[in-house]
């Protein structure tokens, strides 16, 4: 079984999916990434799907799962390089991939990660008393 290589560049993990993965390889990648996020303390995960010709509901769910899992482990996930035909097909399939951040290419994805995230929302509980 081929494993998808996970590269580390400073505090970012980079995964470039090449070719047609079977479902087992997809699940393996999900587990490998969770392990590597914890082992490296990475703050960002970039998944490059430039070479991916189709994203079906299984792969789509894997991308959302990785993003959710990484978020729990204090890392932000960005999917880069989605082909236009893949985007059109995903929307018609009914997968909106809500909660998944995307960028058009690797460079924009890295730029997005190095930007400070939004300030945490101030809730009412934290407002100064009497204001």
């Amino acid at each position: 079984m081929d494993r998808v290589p996970i590269l580390k560049i400073s505090d970012i993990l980079l995964v470039s999916i090449q070719g047609d993965l079977d479902d087992h390889a997809v699940l393996t990648l999900q587990e490998d990434l969770a392990d590597r996020v914890v082992a490296t303390g990475a703050l960002g995960v970039i998944i490059d799907i430039t070479a991916v010709e189709i994203v079906d509901s299984f792969v789509g769910r894997m991308l959302s799962t990785i993003a959710g899992m990484a978020r729990m482990l204090d890392a932000e996930t960005i999917v880069v390089g989605m082909r236009p035909a893949v985007a059109i097909t995903l929307v018609e399939l009914g997968l909106s991939l809500g909660g998944l951040r995307t960028a058009l290419d690797l460079e924009k994805g890295i730029a997005l990660l190095s930007r400070p995230g939004p300030e945490p929302a101030v809730t009412d509980d934290m407002s100064p008393v009497g204001q």
Partner: protein, 140 residues
């Protein structure tokens, strides 16, 4: 007027018994769609539908068969895919075609989603008798 579609190329029969064979179905469907001159978007749609339906066959029925046929209706050429299994069948077809309804822990988009990606969609199933899904996509 279009004529009744006729099959113009010998059908290709594929077994679906493992994840590898789901990948092979995707690759054969893509190769045929390219041969027929489908646009890149239509290739992507029909291969995605094939992937959903082949996975359904594997996950819900433990495997089955896929048939790939090339059709001609006098105007346009079409790609017809048939997925057949001898699995448990589907008790409620309407429910199975509803977005988000799933029996197998998936997203529930396999049948309903792939129906939106093709031009014609036929679902034939009865509990205990297995399931046959036939989809057709025509060139534009």
């Amino acid at each position: 007027m279009s004529q009744p579609p006729r099959v113009v190329a010998p059908a290709e029969e594929l077994t679906i018994a493992s994840n590898d064979e789901v990948v092979i179905v995707r690759q054969k469907v893509r190769a045929t769609a390219i041969e027929l001159g489908f646009s890149l978007v239509d290739q992507t749609k029909v291969v995605t539908a094939a992937s959903e339906l082949a996975r359904n066959t594997l996950v819900h029925a433990g495997g089955g068969h896929a048939r790939i046929e090339v059709l001609d209706n006098g105007h346009r050429r079409g790609l017809r895919l048939t997925f057949a299994d001898n699995g448990p069948g589907i008790p409620d077809l309407q429910l199975a075609l509803t977005d988000g309804w799933s029996s197998g822990g998936g997203l529930g988009l396999g049948l309903s989603g792939s129906r939106r990606l093709v031009d014609e969609f036929e679902l034939d199933s009865e509990p205990g008798r297995g399931t046959v899904v036939t989809v057709t996509k025509w060139t534009r």
